[in-house]
Symmetry: C3
Subunit: 383 residues, 3 copies
């Protein structure tokens, strides 16, 4: 009886251990780039594949690449605003489909690279529209804008490839500026709000509230998706955490640095409270901290420098574009990250070739491998 | 007697057939790129050669390359305004001569590539001047501006050659913006009108007149030469038709698309009536439809997409530059066409290398030939 | 006695001749690039080396490369304003040290290439600040701005190297515009003056004073260092003369051409009197006249064309950026010189590869040598 019980307990503990091991394994499978999923999806229907490509695209916005994180982010967007969620979903589908029709590289399409710019354009068209939610005519520019992103992505990649640079969100930044310029604020069909520059003087100088400023830091992560609510922003942060804890830490760090930069330049309080000061810093910090550079204390310092530069450049560009009522979107972070990727000198040794960029943890693990591979590759291309 | 008459008739009909065949042959010789003329001109005097180079340059503005078309266009310009015709002629001569003096590539000079930017700068300086016609001091900036175009063409070609891109009208667009910025609207020597952005609100909202809008479509072709009269615009369209019917169709189609885009954005009525909404669409459509891409139903669709993108980008840029009183010129079409030429994916296979671009009909005929040649060439340059 | 005296005289004259020969040799050693100093400095302490690198950096602003000239220029700056001198010194030290820490190419660092942008940023931050001298908080943006220049220099060099172009003062121009945009005119911590565009209408139209205009020509050379006093400007011109008489002549010539261009466009009188119209012309003229091109009558004409283009482009850009209260800095000259370096055609044969650029006199002497070397080098890189 006692023996039996002991065996029972042993078995139970064993099965629990095996269960927790299985759960852990499953969890580990769900983190990082989830490359195993690609093999599994190969013989599935086109609609299912398109879904996975789209979800990967959703996470590309925040420099991740994981369908589960994408699903979490979509949930967060629908939670914040169903209309915005719908626009984002439409944008990602339209641009991915356009890429399929235009015969773009299938590896790029399945990696979600042709979806994220379209999604951002759609979200921002929705946010800046002054017609309110459920204005169905807006689907027209959303579809056109998303489709145009593919043209820009394809064209820009030809140019940027020469320096092994990613196209990143350049297409989104260009298209949204063109859209806002095209329609103008008083357009009879597609009117929109003017963006207020962060340096605008406050009409009634209220005191800065510290808790609100701190609340703006996680909101800065949400603002990457033009989402200004705390709950969804935290869920988005969780999605990044699922992909890579290192990236999530850099996202928060970058947002905090952006807020600090905003404070040092005495920007509008709203800009700090809503996380608008933080999101360029977050993007600039994430791009360098682990993603495009193998993480080390040197690249960590570079990521901090990149966050500061992104944040200050964002204030500068917002003030400039604000004179004609335009937002600076993520121009600052995109340009700063591009600059950092072009750096020569001892820091360039930490850079990961664009084709080999994976989750930061994976980058770190395979660093010695790609370093060797990189040298061999360079030799072969230099001939 | 009857036999004789019959022979007479036969002979007459034969001579008529031979005559019409000769006329047709001569006509065919006069269409397309007229490369036969180059051989004929080789031993002629420099002034005659310069004339042909200039006439080729005139047609380069509208993406054609045919001295007879050039003569027709010059006639149209002198018809619309003798002063404008004079400025255009001066511009093309000055910039072509500058290129000769600066020792630019002789094939480029004789192809008229160094003339068209200078001509456009001269025409636009004339159009924007608020001093009226026959203000002789204007010849000074016209000469300087035309000459400077050669510097920009030469410098930009070094950069753009890396991606096998044409310099197109980038020099014109840069120089005219610099000229207008340099003089300012209230300059004591060279005052000019401010450009009105298409999104400007109309003071007295009149109803849109459909016939005027339709009239704006052919005017859009004339506006490529800053010409706003119907007769000369139709003559210019005829000149394009002489070079290549396919190009003429795309010119009209592009202008119509541009007008449609203008309508969808509710631009100023004047902008529609004068063809200002159409000309960027026309240029964007012509560049893709047959000229830089071998025509097929796929590239035809791409040409339509290019026309829409050019037109919307033109409205956007005009609204932006209009805030400081500047016109957007043909920035939109030039940038859009450059983007389309950079496209990767399945559409890139239809692209014709810049060095082998001829009239669309010729491009189509020799497609299989250059496709083979292109592969061979790429292999040799890739080593 | 007589013999003795004669010998005495002979000896005295001999010693005088030998002395003057020695002085001349020493003087010749002190002109040009002073490459002999580099060997002498190799085993000296880091602080001394840093000093020489800094002094070379000071002269890089004015396209020279000579530590003694650098010392003269620093004296001129401290003479004009001790606060400005301090800011400039700090800027050059911070950016050179940042380059050392970031592991930039040591040849570039020791050539002063990482110092001059930081120095210019610091000087301009000081000039535009509206807080007056000795506002110590200003050291914060001065240090940050100078350090950021190194990032931009390194990143831009990766791009521009493809066309063998120098980075020149692009980093300075970008950073100062970003700084001024970031802080805004009414910033509570770092307020600054708005720049007045040269085309601004004068409130009380006074008559132009010819002597003041002529006084503006040497001031144009000083304005390269944002220095508007006559004495220090002449000292700076003297420093250039020490490096290379040919460069000094082109500096004055360019400044005169810039003033002429300003007169032809009827710019504000202040702009002429203070040398602000001249300094872009001076830079544009110096870059082409001897430095990046081997001097000949052809390149001398090109230098004059470059000066005119720089000056007119500066008026245009100043008018544009002036609408948002920004200065055009040396954008015009930098862009113009870059354009000239990209020229194809017969003039390209006179161009000196960036790696072999020395003082104009030295360039001229070794022209046949580098021409041969250049051909050989090209052959080896073309493989």
């Amino acid at each position: 009886m006692w023996m039996e019980t002991k065996t029972d307990v042993e078995e139970a503990s064993r099965s629990r251990a095996s269960l927790s091991r299985r759960v852990l394994n499953t969890l580990l499978l769900c983190t990082g780039d989830m490359e195993c999923l690609d093999e599994y999806m190969q013989d599935k229907s086109f609609v299912l594949q398109l879904g996975v490509w789209g979800l990967r695209g959703v996470t590309r916005v925040i420099l991740a690449n994981n369908p589960l994180s994408g699903a979490l982010i979509l949930v967060a967007l629908y939670w914040a605003s169903p209309w915005q969620g719908l626009l984002g979903t439409l944008g990602i589908l339209v641009s991915t489909l356009t890429a399929v029709i235009m015969g773009q590289d299938s590896a790029e399409v399945s990696g979600g690279l042709h979806g994220f710019n379209g999604m951002l354009v759609s979200l921002l068209i929705g946010v800046f529209s002054s017609t309110g939610d459920w204005y169905w005519w807006l689907l027209l520019p959303v579809c056109l804008g998303s489709a145009t992103c593919v043209f820009l992505f394809s064209g820009l990649s030809s140019v940027l490839d020469r320096w092994d640079l990613p196209v990143a969100v350049f297409p989104f930044n260009i298209i949204i500026i063109l859209y806002l310029l095209c329609t103008g604020q008083d357009n009879p069909y597609f009117p929109h709000h003017a963006a207020t520059p962060p340096g605008a003087l406050e009409l009634n100088g209220t005191k800065l509230i510290a808790t609100e400023v701190i609340r703006g830091i996680p909101l800065g992560v949400g603002q990457i998706f033009a989402c200004g609510a705390l709950g969804p922003s935290l869920l988005i942060l969780g999605a990044v955490l699922l992909y890579s804890p290192l990236l999530a830490v850099h996202a928060l760090l970058g947002s905090a640095i952006g807020t600090l930069a905003g404070l040092s330049m005495a920007v509008r309080h709203d800009s700090l409270y809503l996380g608008l000061s933080g999101f360029n810093g977050a993007l600039g910090c994430m791009a360098i901290g682990g993603l495009f550079f193998a993480i080390s204390w040197k690249t960590h310092l570079l990521a901090i420098a990149s966050a500061f530069l992104s944040a200050y450049a964002d204030i500068a560009l917002s003030n400039l574009l604000g004179t004609v009522g335009l937002p600076a979107c993520s121009w600052a972070a995109t340009l700063t990250a591009t600059l950092m990727l072009l750096l020569t000198g001892s820091l360039a040794a930490y850079r990961i070739p664009i084709g080999q960029v994976r989750a930061p943890e994976h980058n770190l693990r395979s660093r010695s491998q790609w370093a060797a591979g990189n040298t061999a590759e360079r030799e072969s291309t230099d001939v």
